[in-house]
Assembly symmetry: C2
Homo-oligomer: 333 residues x 2
């Protein structure tokens, strides 16, 4: 039996293609290609694995339907959030000097930094164009654009913090939240709020959906942090404890620093060797960081799921939304 | 006697400061500082010379007043166009590897490429936030945002072409117009159209103002190209013929290539030495490129001024707009 997602995914791809085609003109074909490559549509290795999972646009459309709307209404917002997310990845890859993304060379690796900056800027602009194309009343369309801009602002702030933190080995625990709030939760909160707005949901329902998105983003990030140190390689797809090796300022690390114990002393002494990592991960667990991260993730997950229930998601799409949330949050029903 | 500009300039600075302050929070103070530095407000060498001339926001406000509106209405649009312009300069400086801008080290030179990309992205976002703050009806506010997005799209396309052309020594003459249209004219057209929209001018007046801005941008760029090869160093502030040395794809050069004469043969043979430049500039003039550029600039200038008269600019601000146009286009009254 075809599921709702079977209709949503092709509609999302088609809508993003429509928006990208607004950059038309033969002289811009390389600009178009760089963006289409990054989105997983063109070039070597193109295909679903290179596209990412389109979680954000799916959230927009499912929320719209679960809030009683026709998900087709929200398609421009779905394209906008996915383009915004991917713009930030193109620039992030330059900033982090990352050669690979989803198993393929990054845009800057293939076309150089100057044109990768331009590909990101164009994709950001197309996201802005898309969010203004919602078939809503002018008042509601403006509200949607403002919700989107707030997410953009938090996203660029989060990106700024992330790069700032690279040069600081020591950081207080409260430094964590504005960074993950900006890099992950802001956009997910905008996804669910925009979906509810497109459905014409009343303010309290919109705000419950917004809180669901925000907490979903935070919980997801804390879970990801926990798995990045103690996760199963088969499950996470990256080598265990790789986050420690890379010096990532994840929640368990910031918790460990605050304990000022053996973990903190070794961490502050400088970059780790791969051989040291397993013992240091065990030390961090002994100091309570894993337990702390798991409890924090559990609390945020509960809050996310409670906000979702307050939003009273309806019908098949409501079920799909619950199931997506549980899947992302690794809670089986 | 204080002129209109004496009130506009401080109001523009204050409005841009208000928008920049939306990036608030102690943890973002470096992000704020990078943007304030680039705008000429902070850091070594801060002051009017480091700020640039604010031509774009002045155009927005003067057009609004000349079209019968209260220029205060258009302040968020004035801030938006200036922030958009400066975002593009921050990224342009990275892409061109430029160490200096307005006599001071560029943002990427001081804080590195990753944070300079972020400072540009944040400034772009703040421009988007500002354009949504116009005190207009929702319908008109949406129209303003759409006009702005079209300018953003052409701007990023123009920037893409500019970088693409760097690797091509040969280019047909028609390659010139979408590049300067995107890099210069698109934003000036948006400035005058937004000013007229904020004044509530009827569509034919809006469209005349838009054409004025577009042609003003093109004429200005062609004049700049002519001066970049044959200009007086005292007048242009850069050494004569420096555009030839840098290999800039200016209109006279593309005209000269099309003649397939002595200029084209030397140009295609590779980078010039400073010693060769004066003779090659003279050769290019002999082949008719200077005359062609001057005639093109004169035609575009006439078209710009004719469009401005069709728009029927009113009162003191109308006079100020005519006078600004003549000043930029080097036509004395």
């Amino acid at each position: 039996m075809p599921t709702l997602l079977d209709s949503l995914l092709p509609a999302i791809e088609e809508e993003i293609r429509r928006v990208l085609a607004l950059n038309n003109g033969e002289q811009y074909s390389l600009l178009h290609h760089m963006m289409a490559y990054h989105l997983g549509w063109e070039g070597e290795g193109a295909g679903p694995k290179a596209s990412g999972k389109r979680v954000r646009p799916i959230l927009v459309l499912l929320t719209c339907a679960a809030a009683g709307g026709d998900w087709h209404t929200a398609l421009p917002a779905a394209a906008a959030v996915e383009l915004l997310h991917n713009f930030s990845l193109i620039h992030d890859d330059i900033e982090d000097n990352s050669p690979l993304r989803r198993g393929r060379p990054t845009v800057w690796k293939l076309w150089g930094i100057p044109q990768a900056i331009n590909a990101g800027d164009s994709m950001f602009t197309l996201a802005q164009v898309a969010i203004l194309q919602l078939p809503l009343s002018a008042e509601r369309a403006l509200q949607a654009a403002r919700i989107f801009q707030q997410a953009c602002l938090r996203l660029t702030q989060g990106q700024f913090l992330d790069i700032s933190y690279e040069e600081q080995r020591d950081l207080p625990q409260e430094a964590y939240w504005p960074m993950v709030g900006g890099k992950t939760a802001a956009l997910l909160a905008a996804c669910t709020e925009l979906g509810a707005l497109c459905a014409g949901a009343p303010p309290e329902i919109q705000s419950a959906y917004r809180e669901f998105g925000e907490k979903l983003g935070l919980a997801f990030q804390v879970l990801d942090d926990e798995l990045g140190i103690w996760g199963d390689e088969a499950q996470t797809g990256k080598s265990a404890a790789s986050d420690l090796l890379e010096g990532k300022k994840s929640l368990p690390v910031l918790y460990g620093l605050q304990q000022e114990g053996a973990f903190a002393r070794r961490w502050m002494a400088g970059v780790l060797t791969p051989e040291e990592v397993p013992a240091l991960a065990a030390q961090l667990e002994t100091e309570g960081a894993r337990d702390y991260a798991q409890k924090t993730a559990a609390r945020l997950t509960d809050e996310a799921l409670a906000a979702l229930e307050r939003a009273q998601p309806q019908g098949e799409s409501g079920e799909a939304l619950r199931s997506l949330a549980r899947h992302l949050l690794r809670r089986q029903a």
